[in-house]
Structure formats: structure tokens, C-alpha cells
């Protein structure tokens, strides 16, 4: 079945350092979405990428969708303690019932 892997699983950074998480799907994705889950919270939608090669920015966050629509990345510039949480990529499968599947998540800790 379709699988979505994320690396790294965990990342500790000093405040002010950059951070990147990578999302890799075993098959082509219709679109890719990124979510952030704060400790003790629920996943909250950040952004959706649809087009091959698409790049979107939200303040210090930059999202990319690969040319083959099988991978994506999230880059945070100059991390802050408010960036702490787990970042999930996910999206609908391209066949069958189009259910949403999510990556394994990357847990980010920012040390002040």
C-alpha cells in the first residue's frame, strides 16, 4: 500500500538554527499537505501544495513539492521556541477511496 515516510524522526536544534524535514511517498500524490501538532494538541493544517515543483512560503517556513509529486520538504529558518511540535505531511491517495494518509512525523525540539 501507499506509504509516506518522513525524516528525521526527531530533531533538536538551538534557537536560531534552521530546520528541515523531508517527506517521501512511495507513489505519486494528488497534493501534499503539512500539519503541525503542538505537544498535547491535535494536528493543525499549515499549507497545501498541488503543483509539481511548487514552492510556498509562510513567514519563516518554506514548503516545496517535488517535480515528481512524490516528495516534499518543510524548511524553517531561524527556529524559535514556538516552533516546537511534530510536523506531519500527508494527503489523499491517488487511487481507490482517496483516503488521507500521513507521514510518520518529525518531532522538533528547540533549545533556548
Amino acid at each position: 500500500g501507499q506509504q509516506v515516510m518522513q525524516i528525521p524522526q526527531y530533531q533538536h536544534v538551538q534557537e536560531g538554527e534552521d530546520f528541515t524535514t523531508y517527506c517521501n511517498s512511495s507513489t505519486t500524490l494528488s497534493n501534499i499537505q503539512w500539519y503541525k501538532q503542538r505537544p498535547g494538541g491535535h494536528p493543525v493544517f499549515l499549507i497545501q501544495l498541488v503543483k509539481s515543483g511548487e514552492v510556498k512560503k509562510q513567514k519563516r517556513l518554506t514548503f516545496q513539492f517535488g517535480e515528481a509529486k512524490k516528495n516534499s520538504s518543510l524548511h524553517i529558518t531561524a527556529t524559535q521556541t514556538t516552533d516546537v511540535g511534530t510536523y506531519f505531511c500527508g494527503g489523499p491517495t491517488t487511487s481507490g477511496t482517496y483516503k488521507y494518509i500521513f507521514g510518520t512525523g518529525t518531532r522538533l525540539k528547540v533549545l533556548a
Partner: protein, 113 residues
């Protein structure tokens, strides 16, 4: 309502008892999902409802788990004869359709003792 609502927020039950978890999706959202998240882990897909189509139950871990969605709105996830390994946060999400962002509820934290 304004968001996805789940109840109860916390549930402690004895091993072997049945539990029902409720999800009230955003009005008008045709797709509804149930996920399970164990402590520090990812989102495990359980079941997916889309409109009037037959649900995708491919993620249900055993026949002790079942879910229904009445009238295309509220959904109930039922776990029969609960086991300790069922302890987790159960998250519900809804979307306008299968291509749009998912909106999650706050989850139900289930503890089986």
C-alpha cells in the same frame, strides 16, 4: 459548529468493557476520518467515510473496532472488549472533499486499565 467536536475528551475504562467515541464534524464536510495516535507516535489511519459511499475500513486493527456515520454527519467509533493496547488518543477529522485540508478535533484520550 465552528470546528470538529469530539466527546468525551477523556475516557478511562476497565479492560473488557465497550466504549463509544463520538465525532461531530464540520457542517457540510462530506469526508470524515478516524485516526489513532499512541503516545509520541504518528497518525494511524482507522476508517474513512465519504458521502454515501461504503466506508474504507482498511485501517481497523481488529473486529473489535467498528464505526458508523449516521445521516452523513455524526460518527461513532465503537471499541468492544477493550484491551490495554487500545489506550491511545483517537482523533477525528473532516474535510469538504477528499482533496482539501483535514480539520481535526481535539481527540479522545482513551485509557484502558
Amino acid at each position: 459548529g465552528a470546528g470538529v467536536s469530539q466527546s468525551p475528551s477523556n475516557k478511562v475504562t476497565e479492560k473488557g468493557k465497550d466504549v463509544e467515541l463520538r465525532c461531530d464534524p464540520i457542517s457540510g464536510h462530506t469526508a470524515l476520518y478516524w485516526y489513532r495516535q499512541s503516545l509520541g507516535q504518528g497518525l494511524e489511519f482507522l476508517i474513512y467515510f465519504q458521502g454515501n459511499s461504503a466506508p474504507d475500513k482498511s485501517g481497523l486493527p481488529s473486529d473489535r473496532f467498528s464505526a458508523e456515520r449516521t445521516g452523513g454527519s455524526v460518527s461513532t467509533l465503537t471499541i468492544q472488549r477493550t484491551q490495554q493496547e487500545d489506550s491511545a488518543v483517537y482523533l477525528c477529522a473532516s474535510t469538504p472533499d477528499h482533496l482539501n485540508a483535514a480539520f481535526f478535533g481535539q481527540g479522545t484520550r482513551l485509557t484502558v486499565v
